[in-house]
């Protein structure tokens, strides 16, 4: 048997391209449906776990899916914006704790999440080093974000400008890293957390500039009155919030009208949650309240349906591939007629020849299956991360 195995192996090794194509085909036939299933299941579990950990989400009326993807997985698509007053009204209702979210900006690929200090407790995010942001312009990085950006406590990160060639656009803000979070294997690992007010500074709704009362700013002052000072564009605007200039930062207008992408509502109890949801039933309301797990459930149903179609298509392709592989094998038997005859003439039996051919098939099947298994394990290990990183965000 050892000799038969050796001959089979030598044949496959000598015809390495043919063998590689066969092994690759077998691998794909097995891996595509199995890997797809693993991806869907793993992603579903990850998506659902995050959704279930988020009881209610309030946002402006629009796509619930966009709202969930942005608020839970920090996707690039920004949902319709709502007013900060909506968060205040939830808090004032006494029915739930409200955690504001403003997820619109990025620092390179990492999402910048404007929120409140309650978010860290709500998501059970632990500090690995440093402290939580306490001042305007401070940020805390998720473990993966810190690794990606290569920063530590004491360094700084800069928000990406939204419109590089638009003078009136969003300018980058340099933020101090005051803390790094321990990994928790959720989208939080990839995020940069700042106070929502710092997000508004990035937006340009809050700003800091040189003190116009000081003599060096005199040339910029156009007019002084009791209502305020009017200055020209030569006034120096700060693009970094530091100890020395933090006092100059201020916001104009009513904070209640400032934008948020969503508010996470954590009801005091089930009854409070139901009452809170009732408040958004009115069709005239500007906001919507959703249960993220309902939205994710619908999403997974859709994915499952698509998956079934794909698996059906893959099975049809697999049958065609197996039929083709069988045909190739049978044709190769005709090509190998002389070799088989030689083995028979020298003294090899039909059983030996059949065993050798069968061994070749088994080796190809084992190699293809092993590769498919390896890919499936990799998919199981990294599939959901890839989906979260490249599809959801």
């Amino acid at each position: 048997m050892k000799g038969i195995f050796y001959l089979a192996w030598r044949y496959l090794a000598y015809n390495r391209w043919k063998t590689s194509i066969l092994v690759g085909s077998i691998m794909l036939i097995i891996y595509l449906p199995v890997g797809l299933n693993v991806v869907v299941e793993e992603s579903g579990e990850h998506l659902m776990a995050r959704a279930e950990a988020t009881p209610l989400l309030v946002g402006a009326k629009g796509s619930p899916l966009e709202l969930v993807l942005n608020s839970l997985y920090f996707s690039l698509e920004t949902p319709e914006l709502m007013d900060y007053a909506a968060a205040s009204s939830i808090i004032e209702s006494g029915l739930a704790k409200a955690i504001p979210l403003y997820v619109r900006f990025r620092s390179r690929e990492q999402p910048i999440v404007g929120t409140s200090i309650e978010y860290f407790g709500f998501r059970d995010l632990q500090l690995a080093s440093g402290r939580l942001p306490a001042l305007l312009g401070e940020c805390v990085l998720g473990a993966a974000a810190a690794l990606e950006l290569g920063v530590a406590v004491g360094d700084s990160v800069v928000s990406s400008p939204e419109t590089a060639f638009d003078l009136a656009g969003i300018y980058p803000l340099k933020m101090s890293v005051v803390g790094l979070l321990a990994p928790n294997f959720t989208p939080d690992d990839d995020a940069i957390f700042i106070d929502v007010k710092t997000a508004w500074v990035i937006e340009g709704l809050g700003h800091g500039h040189q003190d116009l009362a000081r003599p060096e700013a005199a040339s910029a002052v156009l007019r002084r009155s009791e209502d305020g000072i009017v200055a020209n564009a030569s006034v120096v605007q700060f693009n970094e919030i530091s100890e020395s200039n933090i006092d100059t930062f201020h916001f104009h207008g009513d904070l209640g009208g400032y934008p948020l992408t969503a508010v996470v509502a954590v009801p005091n109890d089930q009854k409070s949650g139901v009452i809170l949801m009732g408040r958004y039933v009115d069709g005239e309301a500007q906001s919507q309240i959703i249960r993220p797990n309902d939205v994710v459930d619908d999403l997974l149903d859709t994915i499952l349906t698509i998956q079934q179609f794909i698996v059906a298509a893959v099975i049809i392709v697999a049958i065609a591939t197996i039929a083709t592989a069988a045909l190739v094998f049978l044709l190769s038997l005709r090509l190998r007629r002389r070799e088989i005859d030689t083995i028979g003439k020298i003294g090899g039996g039909r059983w030996q020849v059949a065993s050798m051919l069968l061994t070749e098939v088994v080796i190809v099947l084992i190699l293809g299956s092993s590769l498919a298994l390896g890919l499936t394990v990799l998919t199981w290990r990294y599939g959901s991360t890839i989906i979260e990183r490249f599809v959801l965000t």
Binding site: I4, E339, K345, G347, G348, G349
Partner: protein
């Protein structure tokens, strides 16, 4: 060594018939078989080797009546006792020269492959001048080298009977002599019987006996 009596053979399809009333080859004898193409020379070798079975008659090799053995036993007998050399070499392209020589030991469980056998294969390759090419595949050998490798495969089991079907048919004159020298030297040194089919009448004087298939024309092939 080989004793054939009243042998009659024909293929299931076609009108070819082989009819040999009597043919005897002694142990250690070196016999050349000649005759016109299609007269059944190769068929005779196949019958002696047990690859083909006659419809009637008797073939015995040594003390063994091949027709009394089943297929498996015939194969075991053949691999242990008969060295076959073919005109087209019949080397397996996916094996290197050494593995081709060792092929009989890999395809039949009645032979046991060990380091002694591997060393003998290497020695054989050295003795025919292609020891340094043991790791090459047949496609990288000349015709003469291929046939020498095929001869080594036939000699490895030290068979008492060598059957060679036009072993020099595809070779240039120098290689013809060289291959024939190897076969004859083996037969002479080991007291083995050599039956060689050949069309080359220039080689006939190197054999002890010539069996001309013309003699069977009245009885056999095509009649």
């Amino acid at each position: 060594m080989i004793d054939i009596e009243d042998l009659q053979f024909h293929y299931a399809d076609g009108d070819f018939r082989l009819d040999i009333p009597r043919l005897k080859v002694n142990q250690g004898e070196r016999v050349a078989v000649v005759g016109p193409s299609g007269s059944g020379k190769t068929t005779l070798l196949n019958l002696i080797a047990g690859i083909a079975r006659p419809q009637s008659g008797r073939i015995s090799t040594g003390a063994t009546d091949l027709l009394a053995l089943d297929d498996g036993k015939v194969r075991d007998f053949r691999i242990e006792n008969i060295g076959l050399v073919f005109q087209e070499f019949e080397l397996l392209e996916y094996l290197d020269v050494l593995d081709n020589v060792l092929l009989p030991y890999r395809i039949n469980n009645s032979l046991r492959l060990d380091t002694t056998v591997v060393q003998r294969a290497r020695d054989l390759l050295d003795s025919v001048g292609i020891g340094d090419k043991h790791d090459r595949h047949p496609e990288h050998l000349s015709q003469g080298e291929k046939q020498r490798a095929a001869v080594c495969r036939a000699l490895l089991v030290k068979p008492p009977l060598l059957l060679a079907d036009e072993p020099t048919g595809n070779l240039d004159p120098m290689n013809k002599d060289r291959v024939l020298d190897i076969l004859l030297a083996y037969a002479s040194d080991n007291g083995a019987t050599l039956v060689t089919v050949t069309h080359d009448r220039n080689l006939l004087d190197r054999f002890e006996r010539i069996v001309d298939f013309e003699q069977f024309l009245g009885h056999g092939p095509g009649h």
